[in-house]
Amino acid sequence: MIALIDCNNFYVSCERVFQPTLLGRAMIVLSNNDGCAIARSEEAKALGVQMAQPAFMIEEVIKKNNVAVHSSNYTLYDSMSKRVMQIIKERVPRTEVYSIDEIFADLTGMAYCDLREFAKELKQIVTSSTGIPVSVGIAPTKALAKMANRYAKKTRPDEGVFVADSQELIDAMLSFTGVGDIWGIGKQHEVQLKQAGFLTALDFVQKASEEWVRKTLTVKGQRLYNELKGVSCIEWEEERPTRKAICTSKSFGKLITSKGEVKQAVAKFASACAEKLRKEKSCATKIEVFIKTNPHKPNEKQYEPSVTLDLPVATNLTTELIRYAMKGLELIFQAGYKYQKAGVVVKDLVPETVIQLGIFEEKPPEKDKRLMDCLDQVNKTFGKDTVRFGVQGYGKAWHLKQGNLSPQYTTNLNHIPKAS
């Protein structure tokens, strides 16, 4: 059997652990730059706040109902996520962290355990240790475990546990779940399934033929179909494979027209990409730079160019990535527009150890590598961006808008909560 443990309203729950006044109060967490709601408390959901709803659209609801609004504090969420995951990893033979707030646990070999008791205990220990409430779904396959988790949340909110260990229970859950709520079924496929007369997950597994599924939903859909029939087809990923691309991009705090300021931002993003690459021990072979104006201001002239450059030698050196990012920016920057966002994407990543040298390229000088190691070390010891390249600048114009950011309660000694 496989368990999926999912943190309830994770970002909201993290904030509540350290601010008890938020308990029971409607609350949302906004995305980077305070753009839209990305986490909602149950009370906020009841008020009709939708996922990903832009903040300006819900201003009235917020004011009228005194909804608490927080900026996203990813440092805190990451710290709390690691704690939750560690507690679970200590208690099951194999796990796979699926996202910041979800983890699969392989319960094979725990056949003699009472799974209901186990799930309750696990839920209790996570919640008492971290303050984060979780739901547990247990079923024969990953897709069914994911569904069991949702079913637990929807039908047993107090208990928060559902174990689908008989066909009868699986069928009950399948018939409860609309096809659009199946894990991995997007909007487009939802429409196709409904047109074909499959309204619930149960219709889908009982009435659709495997051939039809493969033709309509491709091999991925076929795998899902079999998973829902109880046949495990989704592999376990022990370690996340090397990412294909790393993107650093943020909206500016205000609209920017000056080339100098855009340059600073892009250099900073390139530098952040380089640091992430070095941390993952990978190198990029391509770099993309993009800038864009604000599409929500139709009266302003719109412009959103991007350019991708090949890097002659795969690299993770800050110097090189800034150099190419600047080249890219030169190619696309046009004066006279009000820019709202910029970003750098490093792509086609390869492990540091298998860098292909171009025939006419020289080996990256050892000196640069030592410089980077030194740079990372200094910044690790003395704080982010203590040492940086001149072009990144010290200006604040393009910095993130984070109106109501909570302290870093668990990672900064100056931010720990106080007790009287």
Partner: protein, 131 residues
């Protein structure tokens, strides 16, 4: 005899092996002893209400959230939206929070108070010399 191949028997280390190498153990790591669990958090004491328990203003409190409080444990409780550090007592009269300083009054918890034990204080760190 002259064409005998040279046999290779392995390396010989120069110098003297440390006579202590068989006895080496890891150094004491306070962080590991006090706080090496995902359920451990830190808070800071805001005042001297627990001074007689050795908790000075500004002391760092090590808290294990996973523990269930026993009588006379020092706990962190959330009370009316604030964190408070006090002795915890639960008996026939209900739950009380007791300070360790005569200047402060004991508190009896009533049902309508928003009250929750947040964690149990397991250690206190006091800096004796400010940098």
């Amino acid at each position: 005899m002259t064409n005998q191949p040279i046999q290779f028997y392995g390396y010989v280390q120069a110098g003297f092996a440390s006579p202590a190498s068989d006895y080496a153990e890891e150094d004491i790591d306070l962080a590991k002893l006090l706080a090496y669990k995902p359920s451990v958090f830190y808070l800071r004491a805001r005042n001297d209400s627990m001074i007689e328990a050795g908790i000075h203003e500004g002391a760092i409190l090590v808290i294990d959230k996973a523990l269930t409080p026993k009588n006379y444990d020092i706990v962190i409780a959330s009370l009316l939206g604030e964190f408070t550090v006090k002795y915890y007592v639960k008996d026939m009269q209900g739950i009380r929070l007791l300070p360790a300083n005569p200047k402060y009054k004991p508190l009896s918890i009533t049902e309508e108070m928003a009250f929750q034990v947040w964690g149990v204080v397991t250690a206190v760190v006091i800096e004796t010399r400010k940098l």
